[in-house]
């Protein structure tokens, strides 16, 4: 079976088009937005888009880990919410009127952050153990977990004297994570997201652990035969993911200066959508950090841009849905060859 050179060229062009079709279409859409409203191209808009992408990017990078295993985490968004409420409840300014813990002094800000991270990391470990040891489908296990996490969050949030009231009055040493601007321009959020991106890229591409994640996602049985500790990898992946979404929850508190139990709802869907648009395969084993960054940024630009040119927000939902369906359809096409 000889393949002729010109035929190879044709296949590669076709493959390139299937791979990049969505990205190209979205870039075209952005160009249309710019043509309609040239004012879109200005530094203020770019700053807004960077800031708005930051937290989403951290959640999406978190979700990238289980997606690489061919899994998912539907409790991701609710974990964002739980981390947010825990941190907010313990980091209210001393003189604030309705405090969650009225007698709590100004403890070092790192303490609530560590507590929130430890709690969600524990949730991640349970997710990982359900999937690795009990062989539950990730979709179902984490779906159940999302309800549990939300329940826990609501119970905590309804505790006296808070009685399910929004938590406000967040201390400045936490909100500084969002308010401080480097050179008076770029929010610290963007810097944190960039650091998380670099670390994720390093872990996935440069470490044995990262290579093992791709191997387990690509063919779990082959990985096991090759001496990879499959269960350890699965649990570690879900713990890492939870730590990242927990971090996102903390940053949401910093960004908004408060929290309530609805925080983070459906964030995992936006994250998964961004990953898929960025070329992460839902079947596992395929996906790059750069793709996720691209996916998140494109989503933000489009929703910001549609609002910018005055499109009804309900239409934005429809556009987003169409993008997701197209992305998944293309992913399936790639896999089935």
């Amino acid at each position: 079976m000889k393949i002729r050179d010109e035929e190879i060229g044709k296949i590669e062009i076709k493959k390139f088009l299937i791979d990049k079709a969505l990205i190209l279409a979205l870039i075209a859409m952005i160009i249309v937005i710019i043509i309609i409203e040239p004012a879109f191209l200005q530094w203020r808009v770019a700053k807004d888009i960077m800031t708005q992408s930051s937290v989403k990017l951290i959640v999406a990078l978190g979700l990238l880990f289980p997606l690489l295993l061919g899994g998912t985490d539907l409790s991701g968004g609710r974990q964002v919410g739980l981390a947010a409420v825990i941190v907010a409840s313990m980091s209210q300014a001393a003189g604030y009127a309705s405090k969650f813990y009225p007698d709590l002094p100004n403890i070092p800000i790192i303490v609530p952050i560590i507590i929130a991270i430890v709690v969600v990391a524990g949730i991640g470990a349970v997710n990982g153990l359900m999937i690795a040891k009990l062989k539950m489908a990730p979709f179902i296990a984490t779906f159940g977990m999302s309800t549990i996490v939300y329940g826990i969050n609501c119970l905590y949030y309804a505790k006296k004297p808070n009685n399910a009231q929004p938590i406000g009055g967040i201390r400045e040493d936490l909100t500084i994570l969002s308010n401080y601007k480097i050179f008076g321009q770029i929010s610290l959020l963007v810097v944190i997201a960039a650091v998380v991106t670099v670390i994720s890229w390093f872990v996935l591409n440069k470490t044995v652990f990262g290579k093992h994640i791709y191997a387990v996602g690509g063919n779990e049985n082959a990985a096991r035969v090759s001496g990879v500790k499959v269960h350890t990898i699965i649990v570690a992946v879900f713990v890492i993911e939870s730590i990242l979404v927990g971090l996102a929850g903390i940053l949401e508190v910093a960004r908004t200066g408060g929290a309530n139990s609805a925080y983070g709802f459906s964030y995992e869907f936006d994250a998964i959508s961004a990953c898929v648009v960025g070329g992460v395969s839902l079947s596992g084993g395929v996906g790059k950090v750069s793709g996720v960054v691209l996916g998140v940024v494109i989503f933000t630009i489009i929703s910001y841009g549609l609002a910018f040119i005055g499109i009804n927000p309900n239409w934005q939902l429809i556009v987003k849905g169409i993008i997701i369906c197209t992305a998944v359809a293309l992913d399936m096409r790639k896999n089935s060859k």
Partner: protein
Amino acid sequence: MQEYRLKMDNITKTFPGVRALDDVKLYIKPGSVHALIGENGAGKSTLMKCLFGIYKQEGGTIEIDGEPIRISDTQSALKSGISMIHQELNPIPNRTVADNIWVGRYIKNKLIVNEKLMEKKTQELLKELDFDISPKVMARELSVSQLQAMEIAKAVSYNAKIIIMDEPTSSLTIAETKHLFRIIRQMRDEGRSIIYISHKLEEMFEIADEVTVMRDGKYIGTWEISKITIDHVIEQMVGRSMEERFPKSEQAPLPEVMLKVENITSPNPRSFKDISFDLHKGEILGIGGLVGAQRTEMVESLFGLRPIASGVLYKEGKLVSNKTPLQAIENGFALLTEERRATGIVPMLSVNDNTLIASYKKFTNWCPGVINKRKSTKSAAAVCKSMNVKTPRMSAEIQNLSGGNQQKVLVGRWLLTDSNILILDEPTRGVDVGAKYEIYKIIRELARKGNSIIMVSSEMPELLGMSDRILVMCDGHITGILKSEEASQVEIMRLATRFTVESTAMEAEK
């Protein structure tokens, strides 16, 4: 009567980038078994899929009994009297045998399915073919050979004149194969034509009347089986003369014992029991037996993939315990699994990553867990080169390589782990003739360097041609260990079928 039942002429089919069939012809006589052979990728399956309407041919003509026909889909193929039994059987597991046979054309009284008549017809059909299966049993409860029997019954129920069988014996025992051959001969004597695709040349010489050889999507020739030799067929398949099928051993195994296995027994009472043997340095120990002899289970237990209930392993005199594959690898064991796709390759990863997956830990530098990319890619490239892996580049996805090249990458994977006991489970399964020879050469070379090899194989010539000694298993027991110079196919078969009284009784109960 026409001289030919089926005439396919000038058949052409292209896939994006590949000319899969190039001006191919195939003439089949009525009442004959016609073997269709060629290496993997020669176009046999594509040709048959064109005939059965799964693919549309782009050029050429098909005639049945002198009548030109057009086959647009499988329904029209079935109407024209063509039936196909696929290599991968696809039954509907939770329906009965009768349902599976008549699906899509249920026997009806007006609107209602006549179950009674359908069962009766199925019963008659199965009896005629001498298959002992109840029409009412669920397909999921059938063994592979019974499923195949069901498919044959289905083909006959279509009153097919031409039955295509794609690698029908790939998962059958010897006894089941014999039964299948009897059925094939019976169908042939009824005047049907059988197109028989197989890699097993010995088998083909037993069953076929004529043979057509294909190579690189082209028609090479058709011969009467009685007028051709096996070596000639291989020559036609690979397109070059092949002096020998197996490279010669250059040195005898060393006297030192590499691995001593003592009385290992599976926790599963139906699996292997009391396995003891010595493996010497530089030795190739073949393991023969029928399907179901528990050979794969036994070697996978040596590697820690399955548990053992009792028994011990000594490596170079020292007690070792392989509870997990990771421990086994650290103890210098390697396992090339039987199912390359299921437990070997990680399809969407590169050749480079697939080569390194078991040995990344070796290639870390300044910080534990961080890979030294330069060192690792260099080693992977070197080992793939030494295996003569044919790949456009090391970053190509392994799923785009041929079976033989994938297998070589997997052998390379284990060479990088510094193992010296290599367990190869069916190392040449699904590998074409040319690549087989290269893999044999690699195995020989590894043994020459003092590694010890355990090779499970279901191909008799491979066992006899490659092994220093052959261990034969039957029903979970070792029934004999033969020196290769005193071994023969007959002797191996005698040991492979030496069921104990107890197991024969169990068999009879079922």
